[in-house]
């Protein structure tokens, strides 16, 4: 199956970001909300779009490669 490595890396990146964010638990709600809205959310969304695109590409490639002769 293609894209295993890239999917794993993208998912690890997302987990890394969540882990890093958990370090901000002690921040004031206001500061954390501002940071989340301004910077954190776009990063999470970018990572999620990559994971989604990789899964779609994985399916498309598998379907296309089934058409290739053995």
């Amino acid at each position: 199956m293609r894209f295993q490595e890239s999917l794993q890396l993208a998912q690890e990146a997302q987990a890394e970001l969540e882990r890093a964010r958990s370090g901000s638990e002690g921040w004031s709600d206001d500061l954390r909300q501002r940071f989340d809205a301004a910077r954190f959310r776009p990063l999470v969304e970018a990572g999620a779009s990559v994971v989604q695109a990789l899964k779609k590409a994985q399916e498309q490639c598998a379907a296309a490669e089934r058409l290739l002769p053995r």
Partner: protein, 221 residues
């Protein structure tokens, strides 16, 4: 106070390092995905080359079989006609296989275009956002370091000492030199005037929003 601020500073550094690692891993994921899609497309191109060669050979065999059948004596005509039919079937199959490989190649090209477009957009967003986040976090880190190193005026440190974590972080997001200046100019109350976290939080709430905007604008510039 010092322990709380040091803990906040550690949290800021951890988040900063985390954002950096996140950006690095996502870049690695994108690079790996580009290699994979390129490999898949190359495999389809190689398969198409092989199928074209097979079709070419099958077509030549068919033409030879047809020529042989056309000039064959009566007693061999049925046998050679069967050979023509077999060659025709073989050529038809080779053409069908080539069409299928071409379709696979087109599907892979579409998948590649979609994937690369998403990767490009995500990489641009991550580069911009992670760089800005790192910059904001570096600024926070520096301000927390200033507070812990004692370069902030004693009045401000005393204010911090009377406040809870929320207020300390509110101060940490601000321009400390500006705050210290304001204290020295009497624009901010000193510890003598501020005795509770609630007072300090109320005091800073409006300014924090303004300073955050300034910090964002500064990082955009």
């Amino acid at each position: 106070m010092s322990d709380l601020i040091k803990a906040d500073a550690r949290a800021v550094r951890a988040l900063r390092a985390g954002v950096t690692r996140y950006a690095e891993r996502l870049r690695a994921a994108a690079a790996s995905a580009r290699r994979e899609i390129a490999a898949a497309q190359q495999a389809a191109l190689d398969a198409a080359d092989r199928q074209r060669s097979q079709l070419s050979r099958a077509t030549e065999s068919l033409q030879r079989a047809k020529a042989a059948a056309a000039g064959a004596p009566e007693n061999r005509r049925a046998e050679l006609q069967r050979a023509v039919s077999a060659a025709q079937q073989h050529a038809d199959q080779a053409r069908k296989d080539l069409d299928q490989v071409r379709k696979a190649g087109q599907n892979l090209a579409d998948a590649s275009r979609d994937l690369l477009k998403t990767l490009q957009a995500a990489e641009a967003a991550v580069a911009e956002q992670s760089s800005a986040a790192a910059s904001i976090l570096a600024s926070l880190d520096g301000k927390l370091a200033e507070i812990t190193s004692g370069s902030v005026g004693s009045a401000v440190r005393h204010v911090l000492a009377t406040a809870g974590t929320a207020a300390q972080l509110a101060v940490a997001t601000m321009d400390v030199s500006k705050l210290a200046g304001n204290v020295s100019q009497g624009l901010l109350p000193t510890a003598d005037h501020v005795t509770s976290t609630a007072q300090l939080t109320d005091l800073e709430a409006g300014r924090q929003q303004q300073l955050w905007r300034e910090s964002e604008e500064h990082n955009r510039d």
